[in-house]
């Protein structure tokens, strides 16, 4: 198999994970796609080391997180004015998100509806709350590491995450109590 073919397989294996990481941090499909592409372009430069390495997933996730955070600090403020003008009109873009189908077909509709609701609620959170929440709950980072990564105080990280949780709970309402219990 040629390098290009091997890399294509590598990209297929990890594209969902990289895209999810970027998407949940920047909350914009087009920007998440740009970031994912950049992650894989960087991965290609080091493909000799990454191919067959079990730590490749971790490396890709770290690069995706770093590029997403860089993107948020560097470009978001600069383009926010005009971007926000068009953001409201991009509602159709947001509904394009898809999930891998669950094994149990009978529950497929209900499960994907719940996931969509959670993703939507997550995306509606303000950037200052969503980013630390995603880093804590989905990327498994500690409060201290998040504070260092975002360059803010530990207290602010804890407060923002708490507010984000409260906002999520409010948005998702009774679904949290009834539908999200772990199955026996």
């Amino acid at each position: 198999m040629t390098d290009a073919k091997q890399f294509e397989t590598f990209l297929r294996n990890y594209q969902d994970m990289v895209f999810s990481t970027a998407m949940r941090l920047v909350a914009n499909p087009a920007e998440a796609q740009d970031i994912s592409q950049e992650v894989f372009l960087r991965a290609f430069e080091r493909f000799g080391e990454l191919a067959g390495d079990p730590r490749a997933g971790g490396w890709l996730k770290t690069v995706a997180i770093n590029l997403s955070l860089n993107h948020l600090t560097r470009y978001r403020a600069r383009w926010s004015f005009f971007s926000e003008l068009f953001h409201r009109g991009n509602a159709g873009e947001e509904t394009e998100i898809e999930y891998a189908a669950p094994d149990d077909v009978e529950e497929q509709m209900a499960v994907s509806e719940r996931r969509l609701l959670v993703e939507e609620a997550l995306r509606q959170l303000p950037h200052a709350q969503r980013v630390p929440l995603v880093l804590f709950h989905l990327e498994g980072m500690r409060y201290e590491d998040i504070a260092v990564k975002l360059g803010v105080s530990l207290g602010k990280v804890k407060t923002d995450i708490h507010r984000a949780r409260a906002a999520l709970r409010k948005k998702l309402g009774p679904r949290l109590r009834n539908e999200w219990r772990p199955r026996a």
């Binding site: 290009a4 890399f7 294509e8 990209l11 297929r12 594209q15 969902d16 994970m17 990289v18 895209f19 999810s20 998407m23 949940r24 499909p29 087009a30 796609q33 740009d34 994912s36 592409q37 894989f40 372009l41 290609f44 005009f82 003008l85 068009f86 009109g89 991009n90 873009e93 394009e96 998100i97 898809e98 999930y99 891998a100 996931r115 959670v118 993703e119 997550l122 929440l133 709950h137 989905l138 708490h162 949780r165 409260a166 999520l168 709970r169 998702l172 949290l176 999200w180 219990r181 772990p182």
Partner: protein
């Protein structure tokens, strides 16, 4: 915040978020990444750290030379600069005074014109100006997006 309630909230949200599977990447991601790999950007479109080594050395030499020229040039002109500036400043101040008088006269004329043209006309002018500004902003945004467009990315 109540620590017990905060812990409960953390558990609830943690359970919800841990249940989320990966999102499906858009179908175009694979294609556009492979296309970008086949046709890499020219060196001048990449960041400086990714330029060829020789070009980096030459550009660094140019940058240092520019700093040196600026430094030497400043020290060459600096002694006579203050005297020269004071000589040149006096006529400029006269010019500024005349300009201020011109602006005052213009403002007076504008006030007179507003008083005679009426509120309706002025309101129409304001609406027209706002429309023109919005058009410029919209076109500017569109051109920026066209300029930065990448394959497979929606423009609006």
């Amino acid at each position: 915040m109540n620590p017990e309630l905060a812990k409960q909230l953390e558990r609830e949200i943690g359970r919800v978020l841990h249940g989320l599977p990966d999102l499906t990447a858009p179908p175009g991601l694979l294609e556009r990444t492979m296309t970008a790999l086949e046709k890499p950007a020219p060196w001048h479109a990449r960041s400086w750290t990714k330029w060829p080594v020789r070009v980096r050395i030459v550009s660094l030499a140019f940058a240092l030379a520019a700093v040196a020229v600026a430094w030497v040039g400043w020290h060459a002109v600096e002694p006579g600069l203050l005297a020269g500036a004071s000589r040149h400043l006096a006529p400029a101040m006269v010019g500024l005074t005349s300009f201020w008088k011109f602006l005052s006269a213009l403002a007076g004329a504008l006030v007179l014109a507003v008083e005679h043209l009426g509120k309706g006309f002025m309101l129409a002018c304001l609406v027209a100006a706002a429309g023109a500004w919005a058009l410029c902003a919209g076109l500017g945004t569109m051109f920026v997006r066209l300029a930065l467009a990448r394959p497979g990315r929606r423009l609006l």
